[in-house]
Symmetry: C2
């Protein structure tokens, strides 16, 4: 595995790879790799000649009061995991290299952001779009891999690729789950034993909502009402939101007549968990 | 010459070209080609294996009340000129193809724009940045060619390439001039005979300012004062601005201790002419 810290080196390497007619799969991360990331790497590995993994904790996507300084890092463990999972190039840029000075050109994501988690993280997706614009131009991948756990991020990447005409295939990868259905998350360790027992109810409630659509229901309001009741009856966690929106546009719908996302966020004592399910107008799961 | 109207077709073609190890030079234009454009094409032709010319009148860079609807077009003449000058691929996208819907991601150029012509064209360079971001991702050039006549545009493209880490060499090309030094412009035809006689004074005045630096002057204020007097004595045109700024940062300078641009805009009866000269701290011309 090549470990590169220099933007030019990555670009030179990728140019050579492309001259050889080989394809590049890209997994952008902020490091502290968990099973979700490894699934992205494995998927990229199976679909491309070359896999490039980037690890960069992007300051632009952290808001004031968010956990930039305490964001967990373990470079040595990440390197080993990357190598074990067949990564060809590990790109580890510094902040000084990515942002040698404040950018002259600001990106504002004006759609798909004022819903779900975006509501409480103003500017977050602007920072995501900025770093991905840079990373896409550095890595020049054929395919880029993102986890459906953060479905809103996938929707924003979809907008970025379409708006800017990137010749990149976005590959959303299904959320990795525990045996009982709880979405894997580094935050799950913060759950008490009781909370951990209840947390699978989040995905269960979303699946129950999806099942309603499969059974003929087309009203978002009735589905959200039902999912809310279900979830409240199964956990003491405080519901932050349960939303049903078109996907990937993330606009509100009066009737389910197109692909949608049903998503929830729940506060526990020391962790806020999110999960979602994406399905078509007939309740058939389409992504994730 | 290949004439392509489809974004995908251009991307497929360029991918193939790159696999063959050939280099791509790109000349983005709004058409109605004149000698300035032809010089860009010729320069690109001499420095690359493949030359791609785009013609697209970009609505995003026209402000309210600007001349989008009356912007001159002559596709047949442009096609012939492109073919005669050795263009390999002429890319002619429609507005519907470039902007199938309003973009979800807005670009704001926050530096290099509140000076020179940018002052009177709010949002203009945001539109330029948006279309170039798209075109760069479609054409994926090794080198991109821009005329120094619009030095501020060159400065903004420089910022775009640096900020977004495009692996593209920006090639500024010297302004094409009439024998008496007047910068070529499609707007020159709107000058009266008397105005046409006087107009070379614009470049003469800027060169006189540059000569002051070569002779040891380092004060922008004294140079601007002198250039203004010179120009006022040589033409009845009304001066819009004469500015001396760092280049390519386009920030004001107290003393000339770095590369700078000395630029002017002059209103005549039916035309507003612009011109500039870029030189180093010793008055030596560096670009353009």
């Amino acid at each position: 595995m090549k470990v590169l810290g220099n933007i030019r080196d990555v670009q030179q390497h990728v140019k050579q790879v492309k001259k050889e007619g080989r394809t590049v799969g890209f997994v952008p991360t902020m490091g502290y790799l968990h099973e979700g990331h490894l699934k992205l790497i494995e998927t990229a590995r199976s679909e491309n000649d070359i896999v490039i993994l980037s690890i960069f904790v992007n300051p632009l996507q952290f808001g004031a009061g968010e956990d930039l300084d305490t964001y967990p890092r373990d470079e040595e463990r990440d390197r080993n995991l990357a190598e074990e999972h067949g990564v060809d190039v590990l790109f580890l840029p510094t902040t000084a290299m990515m942002y040698p000075e404040p950018m002259s050109i600001q990106l504002s994501v004006t759609k798909r952001t004022d819903v779900l988690c975006g509501k409480s993280r103003p500017g977050h997706f602007d920072g995501v779009a900025a770093v991905l614009t840079k990373l896409f131009n550095i890595v020049m991948p054929d395919q880029a891999y993102f986890g459906m756990k953060d479905a809103q991020q996938v929707a924003v990447v979809d907008a970025l690729i379409n708006d800017f005409n990137y010749d990149i295939q976005l590959v959303p990868v299904a959320t990795v789950r525990e045996e009982d259905g709880l979405a894997k998350s580094s935050r799950n360790v913060h759950l008490t034993a009781g909370e951990r027992d209840e947390a699978p109810a989040i995905q269960e409630s979303l699946q129950a909502g999806r099942q309603m659509v499969e059974d003929g229901e087309r009203s978002p309001a009735r589905i959200i009402e039902s999912v809310t009741k279900f979830l409240e009856s199964r956990t003491r966690g405080r519901i932050d939101y349960i939303e049903l929106l078109s996907y990937p546009e993330l606009t509100s719908v009066d009737v389910i007549d197109r692909p949608v996302i049903l998503a929830a966020a729940v506060f526990y004592e020391k962790a806020r968990l999110i999960d979602n399910v994406v399905f078509d107008r007939n309740g058939k799961i389409t992504t994730g």
